[in-house]
Amino acid sequence: MKTPENLKYGKTDEWVRLDGNIAIIGISDYAQDQLSDIVYVEFNKDVGEVVKKGDILSTIESVKAAGDVVSPVSGKVKEVNEILSTKPELLNDDPYEQGWICKVEISNSVEYEALMTAKEYESYCSERH
């Protein structure tokens, strides 16, 4: 399981990479592995919409289950990764780069700071086994 050091992680398995005040959000390697083959990604928020921490950004459906991607931060949606609509498998193949889901302009960096570090997330995942 990969958990890149430079990212922060949420308890519902989202990762965040902060680029200035833009939070790039995706799902972790652990999450994609649990879901198995992902066949559909639905975006629940449009570009320009305001989201609160905890809002559902997207619903991901695999051959086994459907899961929500919950926003780990509050802010305004700047971009969604439309390519996932036609290539949902990118979430399995490359969850941390090409498989990003959504970019949110954050309004409150405290929320970001409060997220788990890679180490904390790794131990969080290992406790769930």
Partner: protein
């Protein structure tokens, strides 16, 4: 009565859940309700029961004996004998779509063929495995549109000439959602130009649904209307009579997003209103928003052709609590009837049936228009149903017709107060010229007597 569990199995089950008797299992139910005395007549033998049911059934008037000119959503078409013959094969007749569907390749293949035929007939890219009836298929189109816009558009414009029962079902389905606005002005039923519908469309409109031919039998070209709907960013649904599509251009040419309808005319008897068949076709891009299921063709590990449940996008066995549709069944047997019917008729056969319906209905309308006092709306283009304005109360006329062995048309005054004195007549390929001439003579007589 056949009860599959033996006494010892029951004891084992009771023991497992810690109960010592069947009575203690039901102890939560107050005793007086547990085994109530039922006031039933003495048991009958099979022969006696059959006799009684036959007597009851013979009290009905069926269209085998009557000359039928009633339609309004259910039509008296000829059903080739092969339809029933194949339908009653035990392999199809008793088979519910199993929970491991791929084990029933025959059932899945039949559904696959049905989908292919419906997609062809409507001109659409995708068809699902069917719904209960035309009304539920219409309601599912509304729900699909609702989910497509994720609830952000909540206005639904229903053409006033959509079947009134379909409107009721749409209301029932949409009634469970918050903030839904349903536009259906019944006073506009006589308007033909869909422009008045266009005036109601705004940026909050999720879907516009029309019927083709409409409830009054009229045929309107919705090509430019489809554009108007899409310019507002709304979706467009068309409810069709599948037989009419043998002759009319398919709604795909109106750029319809959903084509739905009642499949009863395709080889299913009228039988008191059910079981019927809803069909539902759409564009590939909307496939994730539809309810029901889609069967696909694939190959197995050895390269053999096989059929699978390809998509059940909104159902619960994948989406669990996130499911937005809980109708998991489909009208498998009725879909099979329609499949056999369409396969037997083929493209040219279906066209022939449609042409016969059209020609005979037009002959009937011309003959009726000749009777003094009866009026036909000449400017209305119709398929096999038409409105006749009568000089007498339609109930009196229909009673007289029935007395003479003719099932008359629908009294429109029952549905639209502004259309009292109007009857909706339907003509199919089963009506002979003699039938139509009898109707005309009887109408003349009915008025002369009145």
């Amino acid at each position: 009565m056949f009860i599959p569990h033996t006494d010892s199995e029951r004891q084992e089950m009771l023991k497992c859940i810690g109960k010592d008797s069947l009575e203690s299992l039901f102890s939560d139910i107050p005793e007086k309700y547990r085994f109530p005395k039922l006031d039933l007549p003495p048991a009958l033998s099979e022969m006696e029961a059959l006799q009684e049911l036959t007597e009851l059934a013979s009290a009905n008037n069926s269209c085998d004996e009557l000359i039928c000119f009633l339609g309004a959503g259910s039509y008296n078409h000829y059903i080739p004998a092969a339809v029933d013959m194949l339908l009653r094969r035990g392999d199809f007749f008793t088979a519910y779509t199993p929970y491991q569907p791929e084990i029933s390749q025959g059932t899945l293949q039949a559904v696959f063929e049905f989908q292919s035929l419906i997609a062809n007939l409507t001109g659409m890219e995708v068809s699902n495995a069917s719904h209960y009836d035309g009304a539920t298929a219409c309601a599912e189109a509304c729900l699909s549109a609702y989910h497509h816009f994720r609830g952000k558009r909540n206005k639904f414009i229903i053409s006033p000439s959509l079947h009134p029962h379909y409107c009721d079902t749409i209301r029932t389905y949409l009634g469970a959602l918050d903030g839904i606005q349903i536009m259906d002005k019944s006073e506009s039923i006589q308007q033909v130009n869909p422009q008045f519908l266009a005036e109601q469309i705004d940026e909050n409109t999720a879907l516009v649904i029309v019927q083709y031919p409409d409830f009054l039998g009229r045929v309107v070209d919705f090509t430019s209307f489809g554009k108007t709907v899409h310019e507002a960013g709304s979706l467009f649904a068309v409810a069709v009579n599948p037989i009419a599509l043998g002759l009319l251009k398919p709604p795909s040419e109106f750029d319809a997003d959903f084509v739905v309808g009642e499949g009863q005319p395709l080889g299913i008897p009228m039988s008191f209103g059910g079981p019927y068949l809803g069909f539902f076709a759409t564009k590939s891009e909307l496939i994730r928003k539809i309810s029901g299921r889609i069967v696909g063709e694939t190959v197995d590990g050895k390269g053999n052709r096989g059929y699978v449940l390809t998509l059940t996008a909104r159902e619960q066995h994948i989406r669990r609590e996130k499911a937005t549709s809980n109708i998991c069944t489909n009208q498998g047997l009725m879909a099979l009837a329609a499949t056999i019917y369409m396969s037997l008729l083929g493209k040219s056969g279906l066209r022939k049936v449609a042409e016969l319906c059209y020609q005979k209905a037009h002959y009937a309308s011309e003959q009726i228009a000749k009777i003094s006092g009866f009026k036909i709306r000449k400017e209305w283009i119709f398929f096999n149903e038409f409105v006749v304005e009568c000089p007498e109360n339609p109930k009196t006329i229909n009673d007289f017709l029935l007395h003479e062995g003719v099932l008359g048309g629908l009294d429109l005054g029952d549905y639209y107060p502004e259309m009292k004195n109007c009857i909706l007549f339907a003509v199919t390929e089963k009506n002979t010229k003699e039938d139509i001439d009898i109707l005309t003579e009887l109408l003349e007589e009915a008025v002369a007597n009145g």
